[in-house]
Symmetry: C2
Subunit: 253 residues, 2 copies
């Protein structure tokens, strides 16, 4: 009987992105790996699901201790399909990434990478997302290797609290000031669109923008940690209830 | 100078859904309304954004106190475009819905309706999402009218705490036991796919599923409130940090 841990990996950059293949290589010795990832880029798809059309999946690679499936759906779809049809049993851990581009701060709400992780958490499996400020398709993630290996080994050994997952982000540079446990920075995106005019005189809009935080000097946030060279580990919870607002609202209605 | 409140409305069922037009009618006397909504159904798109292709928007209707725009993007895109290009000034409130289908419990994570609301909250505008357990395209939402009017008037007058928004869900039936301020039920979806085989012998998968909660008897949750005939108002916060896990994690890494 195979007693090696079972590791499910997905992402939002697609099964053939460098980041997901690096991630699988970095933790290969820790368990059997099944990758179920989108068949192309799905950045910024959050926890979107595919309900208006059917989803397809195909095995694209298989070797000792590693299977790779490509799915026509979203990152969330990948996790849901994996649990129901593709995994031989419940996985011991769900990993996402390495995302080409960070998912710190409010980006946890938009991130397909974190969609994978939140879906895994919802299914009561310890789940961790890895993202790097390096955006290039051929980014060198080798400096992340010891950190990722340590974090995955630790979570496999110790687990995570129920309905808590991890959002791990790495700075742009290759030497880190260590690891910081952070809170989610609560800034916002501004100047979010670039307006253009097509050759037929009609306007269209490209999503872009710059992130602005009112908390730039708050050393407890993940944004601060990244800006100061730390590996940022932000614990994220399923429950979004604003308990602090409940008493006020009971007076409202 | 126009001093009437400015109300931005979006949804994930599309600008021509019955629910969004009912919502606009129900609050028409409370302010000037600008609808910016997807040009078709975008159910279950969460906070997905459109980054791989450009987005287009067109005005489809204009009358005294009401403008309607249809956008090719996601619910989140609609809010972002509205703030940057379509609204004459920052709105006094952002509304979403009425969604055909409830968005209680963990569905806040998947819901395009709540994507609208979370985006509005991120931009520091009081934001409220309305959803009904009634799924039919021609659902009769008239019983919701006094509740929606009261909630919107109250929030326009009193505001909401910073980075807190409201997820309001209505039961299937037409008489309600009153309003309950709730927490987000933390169940999960099971049996999420229906597997079919196409005429060419290839498998494909339709998203479906049934929601299961371990908290069925917990009368504090939104799921319980809906199941017992109450209007469920769940305050939702931007900050997803699992503060309770931070001390543990500091020992981990």
């Amino acid at each position: 009987m195979n007693t090696r841990p079972l590791i499910l990996i997905s992402n939002d950059d697609g099964y053939d992105a460098k980041g997901i293949n690096d991630l699988a290589n970095f933790v290969r010795d820790l368990g059997d790996i099944i990758i179920v990832a989108p068949d192309g880029g799905r950045s910024g798809t959050a926890m979107a699901m595919t309900s208006a059309s059917p989803v397809r999946v195909k095995k694209v690679r298989e070797e000792e201790g590693l299977q790779v499936y490509a799915c026509s759906g979203t990152p969330c779809d990948c996790v849901k399909l994996a649990f129901e049809f593709l995994l031989p049993r419940r996985p011991d851990i769900v990993l996402a990434g390495i995302n080409h581009g960070d998912n710190a701060a409010v980006n946890v709400h938009y991130s397909g990478t974190m969609g994978v992780v939140i879906e895994g958490m919802m299914k009561h499996v310890a789940s961790v997302g890895f993202s790097s400020c390096k955006r290039a398709a051929d980014a060198d993630f080798s400096a992340l290797r010891p950190y990722i290996h340590h974090i995955v080994a630790k979570v496999l050994a110790e687990g995570l609290p129920n309905h808590v997952c991890l959002n791990v982000n790495f700075p742009e540079r290759d030497t880190f000031g260590g690891v910081k446990i952070c809170s989610m920075d609560a800034g916002q995106w501004l100047n979010e669109w670039e307006k253009r005019t097509d050759p037929h005189g009609r306007d269209y809009y490209w999503l872009t923008g710059n992130y602005e935080t009112p908390n730039a000097n708050d050393a407890t946030t993940d944004r601060w940690a990244l800006d100061h060279g730390f590996v940022a580990i932000t614990p994220i919870q399923l429950d979004m209830t604003a308990y602090r607002a409940m008493a006020l609202l009971k007076n409202y209605f």
